[in-house]
Structures are given as structure tokens and as C-alpha cells.
Symmetry: C2
Subunit: 241 residues, 2 copies
């Protein structure tokens, strides 16, 4: 074992944190501050410069891209005779917030995430885990490079924890589900972005899902895409799809 | 120069193609069939197995992901004090179909793309180039690995041909433009997916963009996202935005 790893695991003042990470991830991290950042939710972040906070959101952006690339390659090679539509849909199931949340919970990330539970409603705590998982991938990439991250994802995450063939069979997301149902039943489906009322958070998007002109679901989220998803989910519920 | 490269450039029966690629890309390709596939549009593809065609679409899926990851890292490092919203928006400008089309044209890819012009309307020829560019990134990745592809993209493409700081200043895409305009003018905007008429290609999506309930633009495309973009573009035109 190289001296540097020995020091980190047994002598460094951060040895406790290093051991936890090693147990969770299976390797000794290099730049610890990247990993701490990956687990820091914006609710406990402080401003570092020009209004930018030291939360995990930038790492999440990077990790999401690296994860997308690794999963794309895995599926490209695993399914040599499927078209790009199949590959795109299967990848979106694998990297769905729901799937990543479950994965992060199974991996025991909850003990590492720093957040302020008072600043979050109980419903918003769910995506903390998946967000942190993506941020962690960003941290590993910056710390160890692409090939290491790819190897970690393929061998420690995908092969060990993701049942691709089962995901392949599962029903697709609520939005696709709703659109398919409407096409099958010759109904008109629309997702309309509603302009915010006065006094509402201007960063919040409100989307209503209407079937044949009748509003069946309403979603409010901080991205239009998530608001659409939520509206679709509610419409599926209302229609018993 | 290694013997293998010498052979490829001067003796192999494919030496003409190898030289063209070397002139365009700046390196000697390994597995030539990957590069040929990257430039083969589905209009000239033949069926290989189980209905899957030997077109560049699967490589485009892979290359899109690798490109997204490389650009994410470049922006992450170039803008250490910008948040993930800024990074996401700037990346989408860089990898926009419009930007990639221009890039591929500038790089001289037109001479390499195989397609059947009779099977494509003149308006659909535009995205051939950007699609092939992404497929090429997929081919380079499979042929040479991530680090090589990243180096190629950063040094031969991004630094040489993409003016990130100018893109940063440019107006965002038509859909965002339209939504922002509607929010500013307190108008209701909706993008509605219209069910296909009988006899229409079932893979075609029709989206209408309505402002305050009035249809301002209609888009028909093979993906819902592109149909929305087109509808938004037409609405912007109609509204003089």
C-alpha cells in the first residue's frame, strides 16, 4: 500500500472520513474537499464568491454528464442491435431521479449528506440523494479521471446494483405513459406552461396537463421539465392509467 | 512514424480515405469502419440484423453523450464562479444542432457524408451535418478512448472553432425566447402535441405553439422536442420577436 494511502487511512486528521468513504466507495479518495462538496446540499452552503455557493450543484452538473456518457457506452455495447430510440429511453430510466435516489440510499449515502432539514419540505428531501450521487460522480471524475470513474461505475455500481434487463421491461415515465395513452385513445394531450401569479416565486414553473381540453393534472417545480413530469403523474393518477 | 500508420497512409487500399480523414481530423484513424459508419445517413443505410440499419444514429447517441461530458468539464473549469444553470444553458448553445451544423460545414464534412438527397427534403439536409459530427465523436471515442477524444475536442474543435464567450452573449434558443417574451408580456404560452391525422406518418410529431390561446406556429418533426423548437421558431417569426 503506497505511503500516501497509508497516511490517509491511519494518520491523517481526516482518517475517519477517509475510512467511511473507502467503505462506501471501495477506493481511497484523493482530494477530500471534492467529496465533501459533493455531499453538501445548497441548504447548508455558504457564499464563496460573486454569489456562488459551495453547494454540490455544479458537481452535479458535471457528474450528470459523465454518468450519461458512461451509461451510453454501456448500453451501446450491451445492445448492439437496438436503435438509438431504445438506447435513449433505457438510459433515461437508469439515470432517472427515482432510480438514482434508490441507489444512493442503498449505498448508504444518507449518513454523508449535509443539509438543513428545516429548509426543505419532506417531499423535497427525496431528490437530495440522487443529486448527491451525481455530484459524487463529478467529484470522482475530477479526482481520478474518466477511466477510473467509468470503471467504478461499471463494476461497483451498474453491475452490482442496477438490473438493466428489469428496467428495460418496466413501464416508461409518466409523461410518455400519458402521451401514449392519449394517442391510443385518440385524445388530445397538451402540457401548458402557466404564467406565475403575483407573489409567486418567479423561479417556479407551473404546468398543467390537459386531456381533450380538460385539466387533469397540475405540477409546480423549479424546472419546466419536472413540472411537466409532476403534472403528467397527477393526470395518470386521475385517469387511472 | 509507426509502421501501421505508414501502411495506412501510403500502402493500404483505403489510403485515399485515410488521407482525407487525416487532413480533416489531424490524426490517423484506427478502425476505419467506425468512421465510415459515422458518415452514413439512414437514407442510404441497409438492414444488418433484426431490422437495425447500419446508419450513424447509434454512434450519434454515443457521441452526443461524450460531447456533453467533455463540454461540461470545459465549462466547469472555465467558469469556476458560475452556477449550474449558467453552465447548462451555455452547454446547450454549444451543442445546439445549429452550432454543430455550422461547425461540421466549416470542418469540411460535407464531402464525406453519404446520403440520398432524393429521400430528404431540402429543409432536412441541414441537420445531417451536426448529426454526423456527433456520430464522429462516438466513432473517435470507440476507436481511441475518452482521453484522446477529449483532447481532440478541446484542442482541435473547441479552442480552434468555438467562440464560447460570444456564444455566452448570444440570444438563447427560440423556445426559451418565446417563453421569456410571453412571461414579460404576461401572456399564456402553450405547446400542444396534436394527434396525427389518419394516413400521416405515425413517427411524426406535430406541436402547435399557442399564445393566449391563439395558434402562432406549427412544427412537424420526428421528435417532440424538435417539433416544439420548430413551432417556437415559427411563432417567434409571426410575433416579430
Amino acid at each position: 500500500m503506497p505511503v500516501n494511502r497509508l497516511y490517509k487511512l491511519y494518520l491523517s486528521p481526516h482518517r475517519k472520513y477517509v475510512k467511511i468513504l473507502k467503505n462506501l466507495l471501495g477506493f481511497v479518495p484523493g482530494n477530500l474537499s471534492l467529496y465533501r462538496l459533493a455531499f453538501r446540499h445548497k441548504s447548508v452552503a455558504t457564499s464563496v464568491k460573486k454569489g456562488v455557493k459551495n453547494s454540490n450543484e455544479r458537481l452535479e452538473f458535471l457528474g450528470d454528464a459523465v454518468l450519461g456518457s458512461v451509461v451510453a457506452e454501456v448500453l451501446f455495447k450491451l445492445y448492439p442491435y437496438e436503435d438509438e430510440g431504445f438506447l435513449t429511453e433505457l438510459r433515461s430510466k437508469i439515470v432517472s431521479r427515482n432510480n438514482l435516489n434508490q441507489l444512493a440510499r442503498k449505498l448508504g449515502f444518507e449518513q454523508l449528506i449535509e443539509y438543513d432539514s428545516r429548509a426543505l419540505g419532506p417531499t423535497r428531501q427525496g431528490s437530495l440523494l440522487g443529486d448527491a450521487f451525481e455530484a459524487l460522480i463529478g467529484a470522482i471524475y475530477l479526482d481520478k479521471g474518466y477511466d477510473f470513474t467509468r470503471h467504478f461505475l461499471v463494476n461497483h455500481i451498474i453491475k452490482a446494483h442496477i438490473d438493466i434487463h428489469t428496467l428495460e421491461q418496466t413501464e416508461t415515465n409518466f409523461k410518455s405513459k400519458l402521451i401514449e395513452w392519449c394517442q391510443r385513445h385518440s385524445k388530445d394531450i397538451s402540457f401548458d406552461l402557466i404564467v406565475n401569479g403575483d407573489g409567486e416565486n418567479s423561479k417556479l414553473f407551473t404546468v398543467q396537463a390537459s386531456v381533450d381540453g380538460q385539466i387533469m393534472g397540475l405540477g409546480k417545480e423549479f424546472s419546466k421539465k419536472n413540472a411537466e413530469k409532476l403534472a403528467a403523474e397527477k393526470a395518470c393518477e386521475a385517469l387511472g392509467i
